[in-house]
Subunit: 253 residues, 2 copies
DNA sequence: GCCAGTCGACTGGTCAGACCAGGTGAATTC
DNA sequence: GAATTCACCTGGTCTGACCAGTCGACTGGC
């Protein structure tokens, strides 16, 4: 009796650089090499692992492209351990959209899902500090003039970030941020050409106040619905026409 | 008047391997190098880019670790272009959980969000082929004995994959798969030690039938709720006790 | 004594050349 | 015609070298 119908699995050769990268990654993920600590110099690693320098360097490149370490030429302390960051996540999402595997419509719909759920959970699990952070960002947005669109958009991002973190799920928050970034990267130029920035900003502030109100009073479903509707209102006209149907399926009650 | 308060931004030197990697990545993402096509040999790239071989190799390592290409020693055709894959996504998610940035509870809750939304959208947008695929996988699961847990779990994954693809949002499907894989990677050993595999499998099939039924008849909210409840039922006892509160906030109506 | 400049010993980034094991396909042999 | 051999090319690895940049200790002048 075998729980699998394959007795032997095909085994692919493991490259030397891969084993080096795995060992170092294991040390980082296990917390043995905390963020801020330093790796030994490359020429040190060469003797420790018993491999050539190119092998060590390829391993370090892999770790660096995963955002786990950062190296700077001339640094006598060696490469710096960065720990796990969400940059890799947003990078992967960005690739998916740039390669047309995922369209802008799908990206926006995905953001609707994440933000709506963030709102719902935030309404149930928020703390007083969370509410204060959200209020702060709204105040900051309200204080900005129509020419400061970039700063406005950053405050907007921080507001949504605060909501996502209030949800208590850091994974949700990280993904929401990555998707937000990906959407902004795609759509930034289109939104900049919009006609009446002032009206758009006023409406946006209005919406954020409504969300905060729903979150504060614990109306989970209302907060959830508000998030969906707002994204639909902002982006429905910017996505591909055939993607509108997708978005409509998401907002329809 | 500047929309940014910084006139000059700090500029970090761009490494040679980075520019090489960017050029190749650009070609892949733009569709210029479709999946299945081949990159020139390394020694070719050396002359084309005018850099050393180690530089080319480090660039290829970065692309390979991002899942964009795959190289095999001795292949006279050169590295193979794989296109964008979700492997990178699930790898990043796995790192987040392994490094305790995200707990298992958060991972499961995130999966609840994605699957519930997949169910909801699938109920609204499914096609006849989608329904057939789901039915197929349920039949396959029902035909398996209690000893074939691994095959059962794979069919289960394919069922959820079919639902996610029926949602019409490929990004949602990719992320759902990545999260599913990450959950399985963490929890596989715990679930294998569960007492009555047969009862567990029967209950699982029952649940999948209920989801399919709701999707087929277009009951979006019911399908959504079923997804949440099922995940709660399966995993609530396996996550950290303090994470139960998170999950309860997700299922509570 | 203190500060500024110099210098040397590192660092990572890059290159060139070499060797190896493995795969391919054409030439060779039966 | 089929099986075998073999030259050639692939990616993987190692070595040794050089460069530019960084840092710290040393040394000069004030």
């Amino acid at each position: 009796m075998t729980s699998d119908d394959v007795l032997f699995r095909p085994v692919q050769p493991v490259r030397a650089y891969q084993r080096v990268a795995e060992q170092i990654e294991e040390r980082i993920l296990s917390g043995d090499l905390p963020p801020g600590s330093r790796l030994p110099a490359e020429r040190d690693l060469v003797t420790r692992f018993g491999v050539g320098r190119s092998t060590v360097r390829e391993a370090l490149r892999v770790l660096q492209s995963a955002g786990l370490i950062r190296s700077r030429p001339g640094d006598p302390l060696g490469a710096e351990v960065l720990g796990v960051s969400p940059d890799n996540l947003s990078q992967a999402l960005g690739r998916l959209t740039r390669s047309r595997v995922a369209s802008l419509g799908e990206l926006v719909q995905f953001r609707m899902v994440l933000e709506a759920e963030s709102n719902r959970l935030a309404a149930r699990l928020h703390t007083a500090e969370d509410l204060a952070r959200m209020q702060d960002e709204i105040d900051r947005m309200a204080a900005l003039g129509p020419a400061e669109l970039h700063a406005f958009s950053e405050a907007d991002a921080r507001f949504h970030q605060a909501v996502a973190e209030a949800s208590g799920n850091s994974l949700l928050a990280l993904c929401a941020r990555a998707v937000h970034e990906a959407v902004v990267a795609v759509i930034e130029k289109r939104i900049a050409g919009a006609a009446d920035a002032a009206a758009w900003m006023a409406r946006s502030i209005e919406h954020h106040r409504a969300v905060l109100c729903a979150v504060r009073s614990g109306e989970a479903e209302a907060a959830c619905r508000l998030g969906r509707e707002a994204l639909f209102a902002y982006y429905a006209d910017l996505v591909e026409p055939e993607a509108r149907r997708l978005l409509e399926a998401s907002v329809e009650p």
